[in-house]
């Protein structure tokens, strides 16, 4: 069955989440991934939106993280402090992130290119990203894969990954055991080496070579002996995405 890159991205992201856990999600891809997970392998995945929507069925796709659809038929409609404090207490397993740049330690930049006070390009800023990246157990970044985005060193660490290497998060005072878990791109699925905390290629998308990944990454990746291939979206996944989750094709 034919599919577009966004559909594959959503499917790969969706497969990263375990059932009966919680995910802190923003609008866009993460929301579709969570909705798909709930309709496939993780029906009891709880979605948490940062302004207080908790446990929605995701029957309607939200357009804004504070929008009414984030708590339509939800189990709780609370507040930003409540949602963020739940994450600070260690209750939120997954957090989704994006950004303009990511480096080999999973640090993310969504603030500026160039000098902060005289920026070449000004981006939106942290939003909830810094909190999610600091407080959730496992963060999953969704990125377009190219050399401009996968950089040796981000211009600005909006959201901490493993900072400058093993132990650095803990040294900075961030909660132990947290950090970047997966990076899902239009080319591949990546993780982080347990010891070096370097970004590591886990699987390539159908038709993509390891060489292509290297070419599109400005830093050296850990490439394991065996690189998996991501399964394409299944017919059922595509049906769910197109007919139930985003029938208006807002995102896909």
């Amino acid at each position: 069955m034919e599919y577009n890159p966004t559909e594959l991205l959503i499917c790969v992201a969706s497969r990263q989440m375990e059932d009966r856990t919680s995910a802190f999600i923003g609008t866009g891809i993460p929301m579709l991934a969570a909705a798909l997970a709930k309709k496939t392998h993780a029906p009891e995945l709880a979605v948490v939106f940062e302004f207080g929507g908790i446990g929605s069925l995701l029957e309607l796709l939200p357009l804004a993280v504070g929008g009414s659809r984030t708590f339509y038929k939800a189990l709780a409609a609370s507040s930003i402090c409540d949602a963020m404090e739940a994450a600070q207490r260690g209750l939120i397993e997954y957090g989704f992130l994006g950004g303009a740049q990511i480096d080999m330690y999973g640090n993310l930049n969504s603030t500026v290119i160039g000098d902060h006070n005289h920026p070449k390009v000004r981006f939106p800023g942290s939003g909830g990203a810094n909190d999610i990246g600091s407080l959730c157990w496992r963060t999953i970044s969704i990125m377009r894969h190219d050399r401009r985005r996968f950089v040796e060193k981000v211009d600005f660490i909006t959201t901490p990954g493993y900072l400058n290497g093993p132990g650095a998060r803990e040294k900075a005072g961030l909660p132990a055991g947290t950090g970047p878990y997966r990076v899902v791109t239009d080319l591949a699925l990546l993780g982080f080496d347990e010891t070096s905390r370097w970004m590591k290629l886990l699987a390539v998308n159908p038709g993509v070579t390891v060489e292509q990944i290297k070419e599109n990454t400005s830093f050296e990746l850990v490439i394991p002996d065996r690189v998996e291939e991501n399964a394409p979206p299944s017919p059922e996944e595509l049906r769910l995405l197109r007919e139930e989750i985003d029938p208006g094709r807002l995102y896909i």
Binding site: T70, S126, L135
Partner: protein
């Protein structure tokens, strides 16, 4: 409990709980006074040039747009703002009224980035200090508690911290590193609610965002409301009062006050108008045109609602709202 690090960002407003206590005692009243007035009177009375201002909620949702438009018409200048709002903050920047911002996020999520922020930050017109979303909410919460700071586990290790005005200390109980967020007691806060009485006792349906905190972290507080209800109704459901009257200085009746944003259960956001605005905001002169037409070109919220399509448009937006 040593201070180990301090962000290099400017602290626009130093925590001052002792001064706030004196100010609030002198200026707030527990009198049951009718505070209903229009946008013009509320902004003239309670927003001043140079104020540190904050708005609630987020994005294009339950945002006090009719108040923001009035601030522009009244030409309040040199504002410093807590940037957790989106469109209502952006139009103030677009109108050249904001000099400094405690920023967390300014953008339109699925609709894209903010051209206005880009121009203002890249030109140096707007001074930016960085925070996370939770950090800004927690800074308001600290002020709402009446204390100078809250300790948290966000922001640590990042440039967001480095360009903030937070501090890192060692916890005297656990020895761990904590980020201390300075309290923000705003000069003036703006909140749009579903309903309140003439004294300002206000109810909000759905998520409460950070209305609870911001209401308690504002020296002066302007409430705009979709509807004014009787105090008897308030007294029947006192557990629904999220903002009690003694926090409130002005009550502005503003149906569709969040337009083009949405208002839970009442009306959906005006995608068409929003996209029109975002298109206009690409260039300074088209932004100016938009403001001329939709802000300066109308006298008040009623005229604005006529201009954007009148009853027909409003009914359409009502029809798109989802129930419970």
């Amino acid at each position: 409990m040593k201070v180990l690090d301090t962000g290099r960002g400017e602290l626009f407003l130093h925590p001052r709980p002792a001064a706030d206590r004196e100010w609030l005692r002198k200026n707030k009243s527990w009198a049951l006074k009718d505070k209903v007035m229009d946008e013009k009177e509320a902004i003239d009375k309670f927003v001043h040039d140079g104020d540190y201002l904050g708005t609630e909620l987020y994005g294009t949702v339950r945002c006090p747009m009719s108040l923001a438009r009035e601030i522009i018409r009244r030409g309040k200048k040199n504002l410093r703002v807590a940037g957790q709002g989106i469109m209502e903050i952006e139009v103030l920047i677009a109108a050249g009224l904001v000099s400094k911002i405690d920023l967390t996020y300014l953008g339109y999520e699925v609709l894209g980035l903010s051209y206005v922020l880009r121009r203002a930050a890249q030109s140096g017109q707007l001074k930016v200090v960085e925070w996370s979303n939770a950090a800004l909410a927690w800074r308001l919460k600290a002020a709402a508690l009446g204390v100078p700071f809250l300790p948290v586990k966000s922001m640590l290790g990042s440039d967001t911290f480095n360009y903030s005005a937070a501090k890192v200390v060692e916890c005297p109980f656990t020895g761990e590193k904590l980020c201390l967020l300075p309290a923000t007691m705003l000069d003036v806060g703006l909140i749009h609610v579903h309903r309140c009485d003439v004294y300002g006792n206000a109810q909000i349906d759905g998520i409460s965002g950070f209305a609870f905190e911001l209401a308690r972290a504002s020296r002066r507080l302007i409430i705009s409301t979709e509807e004014i209800i009787s105090t008897d109704e308030i007294r029947e459901y006192p557990d629904r009062t999220i903002i009690p009257y003694y926090l409130v200085d002005a009550v502005v009746e503003a149906p569709f006050g969040s337009h083009p944003g949405e208002m839970y259960y009442l009306y959906w956001r005006d995608e068409e108008h929003l996209k029109q605005y975002l298109e206009a905001s690409r260039e300074p002169h088209t932004t100016e045109e938009y403001l001329r037409k939709y802000v300066y070109g109308v006298k008040n919220n009623a005229e604005y609602l006529e201009l954007i399509g009148g009853e027909e448009k409003l009914n359409y937006l009502r029809s798109l709202a989802k129930g419970r």
